[in-house]
Protein backbone atom coordinates (compact mmCIF):
# COMPACT_ATOMS: atom_id res chain seq x y z
CA UNK A 1 0.00 0.00 0.00
CA UNK A 2 1.18 3.54 -0.81
CA UNK A 3 1.32 5.85 2.21
CA UNK A 4 -0.89 8.98 2.36
CA UNK A 5 2.15 11.29 1.99
CA UNK A 6 3.44 9.47 -1.09
CA UNK A 7 -0.03 9.49 -2.61
CA UNK A 8 -0.29 13.27 -2.16
CA UNK A 9 3.10 13.75 -3.85
CA UNK A 10 2.01 11.46 -6.69
CA UNK A 11 -1.20 13.43 -7.29
CA UNK A 12 0.69 16.72 -7.19
CA UNK A 13 2.97 15.28 -9.89
CA UNK A 14 -0.04 14.27 -12.01
CA UNK A 15 -1.41 17.83 -11.65
CA UNK A 16 1.98 19.25 -12.63
CA UNK A 17 2.24 17.00 -15.71
CA UNK A 18 -1.34 17.84 -16.70
CA UNK A 19 -0.57 21.57 -16.59
CA UNK A 20 2.80 21.09 -18.36
CA UNK A 21 1.13 19.01 -21.09
CA UNK A 22 -1.56 21.67 -21.53
CA UNK A 23 1.12 24.38 -21.90
CA UNK A 24 3.02 22.23 -24.41
CA UNK A 25 -0.23 21.57 -26.24
CA UNK A 26 -1.01 25.31 -26.50
CA UNK A 27 2.49 25.96 -27.85
CA UNK A 28 2.25 23.26 -30.53
CA UNK A 29 -1.30 24.27 -31.50
CA UNK A 30 -0.42 27.92 -32.13
CA UNK A 31 3.28 27.85 -33.08
CA UNK A 32 4.14 24.36 -34.36
CA UNK A 33 1.10 23.02 -36.27
CA UNK A 34 0.83 24.40 -39.81
CA UNK A 35 -2.21 26.41 -40.90
CA UNK A 36 -4.68 24.29 -42.82
CA UNK A 37 -4.96 25.33 -46.50
CA UNK A 38 -8.75 25.61 -46.98
CA UNK A 39 -10.14 26.32 -43.50
CA UNK A 40 -7.33 28.56 -42.27
CA UNK A 41 -6.80 29.39 -38.58
CA UNK A 42 -10.20 28.11 -37.41
CA UNK A 43 -9.06 24.53 -38.15
CA UNK A 44 -6.98 24.78 -34.94
CA UNK A 45 -10.22 24.24 -32.99
CA UNK A 46 -9.74 20.61 -34.08
CA UNK A 47 -6.88 20.19 -31.55
CA UNK A 48 -9.28 20.81 -28.67
CA UNK A 49 -12.44 19.42 -30.24
CA UNK A 50 -11.11 15.92 -31.04
CA UNK A 51 -9.21 15.28 -27.74
CA UNK A 52 -12.25 16.40 -25.70
CA UNK A 53 -14.43 14.01 -27.73
CA UNK A 54 -12.00 11.06 -27.28
CA UNK A 55 -11.68 11.80 -23.54
CA UNK A 56 -15.49 12.00 -23.21
CA UNK A 57 -15.76 8.55 -24.85
CA UNK A 58 -13.21 7.23 -22.36
CA UNK A 59 -15.20 8.79 -19.50
CA UNK A 60 -18.39 7.03 -20.62
CA UNK A 61 -16.50 3.76 -21.04
CA UNK A 62 -15.38 4.12 -17.43
CA UNK A 63 -19.02 4.75 -16.41
CA UNK A 64 -19.97 1.58 -18.30
CA UNK A 65 -17.26 -0.54 -16.58
CA UNK A 66 -17.82 0.91 -13.10
CA UNK A 67 -21.61 0.43 -13.45
CA UNK A 68 -21.17 -3.25 -14.33
CA UNK A 69 -18.81 -3.72 -11.37
CA UNK A 70 -21.27 -1.93 -9.06
CA UNK A 71 -24.14 -4.21 -10.09
CA UNK A 72 -21.97 -7.31 -9.62
CA UNK A 73 -20.05 -6.43 -6.44
CA UNK A 74 -22.61 -4.04 -4.83
CA UNK A 75 -19.68 -1.93 -3.62
CA UNK A 76 -20.52 1.82 -3.43
CA UNK A 77 -17.01 2.82 -4.57
CA UNK A 78 -17.85 1.69 -8.14
CA UNK A 79 -21.02 3.78 -8.08
CA UNK A 80 -18.97 6.80 -6.90
CA UNK A 81 -16.47 6.24 -9.73
CA UNK A 82 -19.26 5.94 -12.33
CA UNK A 83 -20.88 9.13 -11.06
CA UNK A 84 -17.60 11.08 -11.05
CA UNK A 85 -16.68 9.89 -14.53
CA UNK A 86 -20.17 10.59 -15.93
CA UNK A 87 -20.00 14.17 -14.65
CA UNK A 88 -16.61 14.83 -16.27
CA UNK A 89 -17.81 13.08 -19.45
CA UNK A 90 -20.89 15.31 -19.56
CA UNK A 91 -18.74 18.44 -19.14
CA UNK A 92 -16.44 17.28 -21.98
CA UNK A 93 -19.39 16.43 -24.27
CA UNK A 94 -20.79 19.93 -23.65
CA UNK A 95 -17.40 21.37 -24.68
CA UNK A 96 -17.36 19.12 -27.78
CA UNK A 97 -20.79 20.42 -28.86
CA UNK A 98 -19.86 24.07 -28.26
CA UNK A 99 -16.43 23.92 -29.95
CA UNK A 100 -17.93 21.97 -32.87
CA UNK A 101 -20.54 24.66 -33.31
CA UNK A 102 -17.92 27.42 -33.20
CA UNK A 103 -15.94 25.59 -35.89
CA UNK A 104 -19.05 24.89 -38.01
CA UNK A 105 -20.21 28.50 -38.28
CA UNK A 106 -17.27 29.79 -40.41
CA UNK A 107 -16.69 26.45 -42.21
CA UNK A 108 -20.28 25.22 -42.89
CA UNK A 109 -21.89 28.64 -42.54
CA UNK A 110 -24.25 27.33 -39.86
CA UNK A 111 -24.06 26.82 -36.07
CA UNK A 112 -25.89 23.51 -36.26
CA UNK A 113 -27.05 20.93 -38.79
CA UNK A 114 -28.79 17.58 -38.23
CA UNK A 115 -25.78 15.63 -39.48
CA UNK A 116 -25.52 12.01 -38.12
CA UNK A 117 -22.36 12.79 -36.10
CA UNK A 118 -23.83 15.92 -34.53
CA UNK A 119 -27.21 14.32 -33.86
CA UNK A 120 -25.80 11.17 -32.23
CA UNK A 121 -23.48 13.34 -30.08
CA UNK A 122 -26.45 15.43 -28.94
CA UNK A 123 -28.30 12.19 -28.10
CA UNK A 124 -25.23 11.12 -26.07
CA UNK A 125 -25.37 14.43 -24.17
CA UNK A 126 -29.08 13.92 -23.41
CA UNK A 127 -28.45 10.35 -22.20
CA UNK A 128 -25.99 11.55 -19.55
CA UNK A 129 -28.19 14.52 -18.60
CA UNK A 130 -30.91 11.90 -18.03
CA UNK A 131 -28.38 9.89 -15.98
CA UNK A 132 -28.08 12.80 -13.51
CA UNK A 133 -31.81 13.55 -13.54
CA UNK A 134 -32.39 9.91 -12.63
CA UNK A 135 -29.85 10.11 -9.83
CA UNK A 136 -31.51 13.15 -8.32
CA UNK A 137 -35.02 11.71 -8.72
CA UNK A 138 -34.25 8.35 -7.08
CA UNK A 139 -31.82 8.54 -4.19
CA UNK A 140 -29.96 5.87 -2.25
CA UNK A 141 -29.36 2.33 -3.50
CA UNK A 142 -32.35 2.38 -5.88
CA UNK A 143 -31.04 5.52 -7.59
CA UNK A 144 -27.53 4.05 -7.81
CA UNK A 145 -28.84 0.79 -9.34
CA UNK A 146 -31.07 2.58 -11.88
CA UNK A 147 -28.21 4.93 -12.81
CA UNK A 148 -25.89 1.92 -13.26
CA UNK A 149 -28.36 0.37 -15.70
CA UNK A 150 -28.57 3.64 -17.66
CA UNK A 151 -24.76 3.95 -17.54
CA UNK A 152 -24.48 0.53 -19.19
CA UNK A 153 -27.29 0.94 -21.75
CA UNK A 154 -26.36 4.56 -22.52
CA UNK A 155 -22.84 3.55 -23.53
CA UNK A 156 -24.34 1.91 -26.65
CA UNK A 157 -24.47 5.40 -28.19
CA UNK A 158 -20.67 5.87 -27.99
CA UNK A 159 -19.78 3.39 -30.79
CA UNK A 160 -22.75 4.76 -32.77
CA UNK A 161 -21.30 8.29 -32.51
CA UNK A 162 -17.89 6.97 -33.63
CA UNK A 163 -19.30 4.95 -36.55
CA UNK A 164 -21.96 7.48 -37.63
CA UNK A 165 -19.67 9.13 -40.19
CA UNK A 166 -18.90 5.69 -41.70
CA UNK A 167 -22.45 4.28 -41.68
CA UNK A 168 -24.37 7.30 -42.96
CA UNK A 169 -23.84 10.13 -45.44
CA UNK A 170 -22.21 13.02 -43.59
CA UNK A 171 -20.53 16.38 -44.05
CA UNK A 172 -18.44 15.89 -40.88
CA UNK A 173 -14.70 15.50 -41.64
CA UNK A 174 -13.27 11.97 -41.38
CA UNK A 175 -9.80 11.99 -39.81
CA UNK A 176 -9.45 8.36 -38.74
CA UNK A 177 -9.96 6.01 -41.70
CA UNK A 178 -9.15 2.30 -42.23
CA UNK A 179 -5.93 3.43 -43.96
CA UNK A 180 -4.80 5.36 -40.84
CA UNK A 181 -4.98 8.88 -39.45
CA UNK A 182 -5.31 11.34 -42.32
CA UNK A 183 -3.12 14.10 -40.91
CA UNK A 184 0.13 15.83 -41.80
CA UNK A 185 2.91 14.66 -39.32
CA UNK A 186 3.17 18.01 -37.46
CA UNK A 187 -0.62 18.09 -37.09
CA UNK A 188 -0.61 14.52 -35.79
CA UNK A 189 2.07 15.32 -33.15
CA UNK A 190 0.04 18.37 -32.05
CA UNK A 191 -3.10 16.25 -31.74
CA UNK A 192 -1.26 13.59 -29.72
CA UNK A 193 0.16 16.15 -27.24
CA UNK A 194 -3.28 17.70 -26.82
CA UNK A 195 -4.81 14.27 -26.27
CA UNK A 196 -2.24 13.46 -23.54
CA UNK A 197 -3.02 16.80 -21.85
CA UNK A 198 -6.76 16.10 -21.84
CA UNK A 199 -6.30 12.54 -20.59
CA UNK A 200 -4.21 13.80 -17.66
CA UNK A 201 -6.81 16.47 -16.89
CA UNK A 202 -9.50 13.82 -17.05
CA UNK A 203 -7.64 11.69 -14.46
CA UNK A 204 -7.22 14.57 -12.01
CA UNK A 205 -10.81 15.79 -12.46
CA UNK A 206 -12.32 12.34 -11.89
CA UNK A 207 -10.12 11.81 -8.85
CA UNK A 208 -11.12 15.18 -7.32
CA UNK A 209 -14.80 14.54 -8.01
CA UNK A 210 -14.56 11.00 -6.60
CA UNK A 211 -12.91 12.36 -3.45
CA UNK A 212 -15.74 14.85 -3.07
CA UNK A 213 -18.47 12.21 -3.39
CA UNK A 214 -16.73 10.06 -0.72
CA UNK A 215 -16.42 13.09 1.59
CA UNK A 216 -20.10 14.02 1.12
CA UNK A 217 -21.16 10.47 1.94
CA UNK A 218 -18.92 10.43 5.02
CA UNK A 219 -20.44 13.71 6.15
CA UNK A 220 -23.98 12.40 5.74
CA UNK A 221 -23.00 9.33 7.74
CA UNK A 222 -21.41 11.38 10.56
CA UNK A 223 -24.43 13.72 10.69
CA UNK A 224 -26.76 10.76 10.88
CA UNK A 225 -24.72 9.10 13.63
CA UNK A 226 -24.28 12.29 15.61
CA UNK A 227 -27.90 13.37 15.92
CA UNK A 228 -28.40 12.40 19.57
CA UNK A 229 -24.82 13.38 20.48
CA UNK A 230 -25.02 16.86 18.95
CA UNK A 231 -28.36 17.31 20.63
CA UNK A 232 -26.65 16.53 23.92
CA UNK A 233 -23.79 18.82 22.93
CA UNK A 234 -26.18 21.72 22.20
CA UNK A 235 -27.75 21.21 25.61
CA UNK A 236 -24.28 21.30 27.24
CA UNK A 237 -23.47 24.53 25.42
CA UNK A 238 -26.68 26.14 26.67
CA UNK A 239 -25.78 25.12 30.23
CA UNK A 240 -22.41 26.91 29.95
Amino acid sequence: MISEGKRTVLWRLVWFFALAAMMASLYTIFFYAPTERTMGEVQRVFYFHVPTAITAFLAFFLVFLASILFLIKKDRKWDHLARASAEVGLLLTTLVLITGSLWAKPVWNTWWTWDPRLTTTLVLWFIYVAYFMLRSAASGDTGARLAAVLGIVGFVDVPIVFMSIRWWRTIHPVTISPSGILLEPAMLVTLQISLVAFLLFFIVLVRERYKMIVLAERLTFIKHMSLPVTGRFSALKEDN
Partner: protein, 50 residues
Protein backbone atom coordinates in the same frame (compact mmCIF):
# COMPACT_ATOMS: atom_id res chain seq x y z
CA UNK B 1 -16.88 37.39 -36.62
CA UNK B 2 -13.53 36.59 -38.23
CA UNK B 3 -11.97 33.10 -38.31
CA UNK B 4 -9.65 34.07 -35.45
CA UNK B 5 -12.58 35.23 -33.29
CA UNK B 6 -14.21 31.80 -33.61
CA UNK B 7 -10.89 30.17 -32.72
CA UNK B 8 -10.49 32.45 -29.70
CA UNK B 9 -14.09 31.79 -28.59
CA UNK B 10 -13.63 28.01 -28.83
CA UNK B 11 -10.44 28.03 -26.73
CA UNK B 12 -11.92 30.43 -24.19
CA UNK B 13 -14.99 28.20 -23.75
CA UNK B 14 -12.79 25.12 -23.12
CA UNK B 15 -10.43 26.84 -20.67
CA UNK B 16 -13.14 28.71 -18.78
CA UNK B 17 -15.29 25.56 -18.65
CA UNK B 18 -12.52 23.38 -17.24
CA UNK B 19 -11.27 25.93 -14.73
CA UNK B 20 -14.72 26.84 -13.44
CA UNK B 21 -15.32 23.13 -12.90
CA UNK B 22 -12.00 22.70 -11.04
CA UNK B 23 -12.78 25.78 -8.92
CA UNK B 24 -16.26 24.52 -8.06
CA UNK B 25 -14.89 21.10 -7.06
CA UNK B 26 -12.06 22.49 -4.91
CA UNK B 27 -14.39 24.91 -3.10
CA UNK B 28 -16.95 22.21 -2.38
CA UNK B 29 -14.18 19.83 -1.26
CA UNK B 30 -12.80 22.43 1.15
CA UNK B 31 -16.29 23.11 2.54
CA UNK B 32 -16.96 19.39 3.07
CA UNK B 33 -13.61 18.85 4.81
CA UNK B 34 -14.32 21.80 7.13
CA UNK B 35 -17.79 20.48 7.97
CA UNK B 36 -16.37 17.02 8.75
CA UNK B 37 -13.68 18.52 11.02
CA UNK B 38 -16.29 20.60 12.88
CA UNK B 39 -18.52 17.59 13.39
CA UNK B 40 -15.62 15.41 14.54
CA UNK B 41 -14.62 18.14 17.03
CA UNK B 42 -18.20 18.27 18.29
CA UNK B 43 -18.09 14.48 18.73
CA UNK B 44 -14.85 14.67 20.69
CA UNK B 45 -15.98 17.52 22.93
CA UNK B 46 -19.33 15.85 23.57
CA UNK B 47 -17.50 12.62 24.42
CA UNK B 48 -15.18 14.40 26.89
CA UNK B 49 -18.03 16.20 28.64
CA UNK B 50 -19.80 12.88 29.00
Amino acid sequence: MTNLSYLFAAYAVVWVGIFLYILAISRKNARLEREIRELENQFQRAGMKK
